[in-house]
């Protein structure tokens, strides 16, 4: 090896601190002098216990420990360091006069990074100290990058939570949506931000409309698109675009305004409008399958038919279907995340099990039946966080 390279430390020696823990004053003094000649700052301790206290306080770049010491021996200090999350990445070199292979193995197994014989040459000491300082410097840079990432992650999460609060503010109030219609809902985005939204709005004195929409994909971008779409669907805006409370006309307009994005993102949506005089519900859907009516006797009809999602075809028209609503009927809108919740085996919960659960809770108030439905889907999935957004909106008609 070229002695020139040995004399050039890889890390800046001026700032590197070495803690030397040895109970023999003579050997400690001589090693300390060598380290100081290498330009290092040297701290000293006379036993393991004292050494550990200085290590915790001063966080040296490298600690060199004698094996046999009073109070606490070198290997025990290594073990203690490795068990303490605050200091476990410290660089530790064990030093002894008995450098048997078994002893070296034991020292490394108990947590030392390297081993140094007391009989080692000046060059070897220099090389091992430099190699440990290089490792220490790498560990420090990884730790500082990690801390920086954590800080950025925290900041991002704070911003996401604030955006999630905004999305939540777009959702309707629970309770009486309008005279004669009770509303209840549950909203569980799969990430902090969901791409599913729903709402209930009054169109005029006679009628109201309500919808559930699902932006494809997960995370920030679908949530932004969903929020924009929900704004478009506000009554004061829709009245500028269409003349009647007509879900099919709303979808034609929405299909025109929300084409497929460049990466193939789109919405599915179900919109229904309810006329308070005729008690008729008229609905149209663009690729959204999660809508049903549960009659007072518990029987269930799905309010859906196969249709392309929004944006798949520029000139789509939408079929309007009319259903007569009777006193006590419930209309339930949901995202597909609920009936497509997978069990740990991969089997999906499915609409049949969903229907069975709804039937079992038909006599419970709406505000209890929806949580029971969600709880059953969660039980099937084995966790309260679904892979997809899960939204559930229930309306009960008192006519």
């Amino acid at each position: 090896m070229n002695p020139d390279t040995l004399s050039k430390p890889a890390v800046s020696p001026a700032v590197a601190t070495v803690l030397l823990v040895d109970d023999e004053p003579v050997s400690r003094l001589s090693m300390a002098a060598r380290l100081k000649r290498m330009g290092l700052r040297v701290l000293e301790a006379g036993n393991g216990k004292e050494g550990l206290a200085i290590l915790r306080r001063e966080r040296p770049d490298l600690t060199i420990l004698d094996w046999v010491m009073p109070e606490m021996d070198g290997p025990t200090v290594c073990e203690q360091v490795r068990q303490d999350p605050d200091i476990l990445s410290s660089q530790l070199i064990l030093m002894t006069s008995q450098d048997q292979p078994e002893q070296i193995a034991e020292g490394l197994a108990r947590g030392a990074d390297d081993f140094l014989s007391k009989a080692a040459s000046k060059q070897e000491i220099l090389a091992r100290v430099q190699s440990s300082l290089r490792a220490a410097s790498l560990v420090r840079s990884i730790e500082s990058a990690r801390d920086e990432l954590r800080a950025k992650q925290d900041e991002l999460e704070r911003e996401l939570r604030s955006a999630a609060d905004y999305i939540h503010s777009l959702l309707p109030a629970v309770g009486n949506a309008t005279p004669g219609i009770r509303m209840s809902w549950i909203y569980r985005p799969s990430l902090a931000l969901g791409g599913d939204l729903f709402n209930f709005s009054t169109w005029d004195d006679q009628s109201a409309y309500f919808y559930i929409l699902d932006a494809s994909g997960h995370g920030v971008s679908p949530a932004l698109r969903a929020a924009s779409f929900a704004t478009f669907l506000r009554a004061e805006n829709l009245r500028h675009c269409i003349t009647q409370n007509d879900p099919a006309a709303m979808l034609v307009e929405a299909n025109r305004r929300y084409p497929l994005t460049e990466d193939g993102s789109y919405f599915t949506i179900w919109i229904g409008s309810f006329d308070r005089t005729t008690h008729q519900l008229r609905y149209a859907t663009a690729g959204h399958g999660g809508a049903l009516i549960q009659r007072r006797d518990g029987s269930i009809e799905w309010l859906t038919h196969a249709h392309l999602p929004l944006g798949f075809e520029p000139d789509s028209t939408y079929e309007l279907t009319t259903v007569q609503i009777a006193d006590g009927d419930r209309v339930i809108l949901m995202s597909d995340g609920i009936y497509e919740a997978p069990a740990p085996t991969g089997e999906l919960w499915g609409t049949t099990r969903l229907e069975t659960t709804l039937m079992a809770h038909r006599s419970a108030p709406l505000g209890e039946a929806l949580p029971a439905l969600m709880a059953e889907a969660e039980r099937w999935h084995g966790s309260p966080v679904f892979p997809d957004d899960a939204a559930l909106l229930g309306l009960e008609f008192r006519l």
Partner: protein
């Protein structure tokens, strides 16, 4: 997802293997777009080894179909598995992308439409 390109007279077949989902959107989109930019007028997606299509996958199918139409081209599908066929049916995708049971029908389907 693995994609193999297999030219046949009057079309190119893409043998897809894996799930057509959000995670694989880039590899799928670039395979199909590369063909379109090379001037291919008819791409046949062989779905026989596709186990699952999620909502992002449906969007990608619609997107590539729209892009091919812009160039007077066309996308067809071959032999989707029953579960995938069900997903495609629920979203009415087959209205945009015809489904065939064998390569010859898929090619002829294009010849008739042209």
């Amino acid at each position: 997802m693995q994609i193999k390109e297999r030219p046949i007279p009057n079309a190119v077949i893409l043998d897809l293997n894996g799930d057509l989902t959000y995670a694989h959107r880039d590899v799928f989109k670039s395979a199909v777009e590369t063909l379109r930019q090379k001037g291919c007028r008819h791409v046949i997606l062989n779905m026989a080894d596709v186990r699952f299509v999620d909502s992002s996958g449906l969007g990608l199918l619609a997107l590539v179909s729209q892009n091919f139409k812009l160039n007077q081209g066309k996308v067809s599908m071959l032999r989707p598995q029953s579960y995938v066929r069900e997903i495609l049916g629920l979203a009415n995708i087959t209205k945009l992308i015809p489904v065939f049971d064998n390569e010859q029908d898929a090619v002829n389907g294009n010849a008739q439409a042209a």
